[in-house]
Symmetry: C2
Subunit: 198 residues, 2 copies
C-alpha cells in the first residue's frame, strides 16, 4: 500500500524502519472519484495530499470570471494550498480531481506530529515547498514568454504526460489561450514537425 | 553585530550558543549602497540575504518591457531568487537595493554546510519558503481583487511602512497602476477619510 510514497520519501533522507512506520501510521488514505472538489474557494485547506494514483488540477477564477489553471499534479506529487493549510485561512483556489484518485493525506495536526516525532522530515517538506515556489514563480513568469508556440512547447516539456490525460480546454486555461487558439497552435506545430521530417 | 539576525532565528528554535556561533561564522556581512543590483535577469542567484538594515525591491520585466514589482523587503526579511539559488539556473528577476543596506549573505555552499552541521535550521528555512510561497500566491491572486482602492488598501495593510520609504512609482508598479492612476486612488481615499471624519 505504501510502496510509492515510501520510495518517494527515501529520496530525501535515510529513514529508519521505525521512522517510516511512524510516517505511514499518520497518513490518511483516501479514494476520490474524478471531478470531485478537494477544496473550493473560501474553504480552509486541511490537507497536503500525496497522489498515489490519478490526476488533479488547481485553479482560480479571475476577475472576469474565467477559470485560470494554476497547476496539474499527477502520481508522486503533493497537492495542497500551502498558504491556506499553514495559516488556516480561506483559500482562493479550487482543487479538483480530473481522474479517479488514490491519495494519502496529512492534516495540519498529523503533519506537526510527524515533524516533532521525526524532525528529519523537515528537509523533505522544505524541498517540496521550494519546488512549489519555483513552479509558481515560473507560472508567473511564463506569461512573459513571447510567443504562443513557445508557451505551449514549455508546457509540453514541463508536463509531458498531461496532454494524453486531460481535456484540451484545461490545457488552454493553463496557457491563457482559448480552446480554439490552442488548436491553431497545435496545428501549426504539427505542420512544422512534418516539414522538419520531410 | 549579529543581534538582529540572532533574535530572528531564535523565533524558530531553541539553538545552543555553539549552534548560533556556527551560524554566525557562516554568514557573510555585506554593505551595499542604494540603487545597486544584487541580481539581474540572466544571472544565477548565489545568495540568500538577510536584511539587517535597508529596503530592497524585486521585479521582473514583462513582455511589454514594463517593470513589474514583485516584492519589497525590509529589516528582518530574507531576499533571494530561491528558484535560481537552489537549482542554480539563470534568474528571471532583478533584485535592487532602494536604500543603503546592511546584509548577511548565505551562499548555496554555506547554507548546505549550515544545514548539515545544524539540521534544526531546516525548520526555519521551510517556514521561510512557505511564507515566500504564500506571498507570491497572494501576489498572483491580488490581480483578482476587484477595485483599485481595494488593491491599494491591501497593499497598505501588507506593507504599512513602505509608502514612507519608497518612491510612488515603485508602488504603482507593484499594483500594476500607472503613477498617475495611483495618485488618483490616493486622492480618492484621502477625500473619503476626510468625509468620514467630518
Amino acid at each position: 500500500m505504501f510502496e510509492e510514497i515510501n520510495a518517494y520519501i527515501k529520496r530525501y533522507s535515510d529513514f529508519t524502519e521505525q521512522e517510516i512506520a511512524d510516517f505511514n501510521a499518520l497518513l490518511q488514505p483516501k479514494t476520490v472519484a474524478k471531478k470531485t472538489f478537494l477544496l473550493q474557494e473560501g474553504e480552509i485547506c486541511k490537507f497536503e495530499a500525496f497522489i498515489k494514483k490519478g490526476c488533479i488540477r488547481t485553479y482560480y477564477i479571475d476577475h472576469k470570471g474565467t477559470e485560470v489553471t494554476l497547476q496539474f499534479a499527477i502520481e508522486n506529487w503533493w497537492v495542497s494550498d500551502i498558504a491556506s493549510f499553514h495559516e488556516q485561512k480561506p483559500s482562493l483556489m479550487f482543487i479538483e480531481t480530473l481522474e479517479d484518485c488514490e491519495l494519502f493525506l496529512l492534516s495540519p495536526e498529523t503533519k506537526e506530529k510527524l515533524l516533532s516525532k521525526v524532525p528529519k522530515f523537515e528537509r523533505m517538506f522544505r524541498l517540496m515547498v521550494q519546488r512549489n515556489l519555483t513552479r509558481l514563480q515560473e507560472r508567473l513568469f511564463q506569461t512573459i514568454a513571447t510567443t504562443a508556440v513557445e508557451k505551449y512547447l514549455d508546457f509540453l516539456e514541463r508536463y509531458p504526460s498531461i496532454p494524453q490525460r486531460v481535456a484540451q480546454h484545461y490545457i488552454a486555461s493553463y496557457l491563457g489561450f482559448s480552446p480554439e487558439f490552442l488548436s491553431k497552435v497545435r496545428t501549426k506545430l504539427s505542420k512544422k514537425s512534418k516539414t522538419a521530417k520531410a
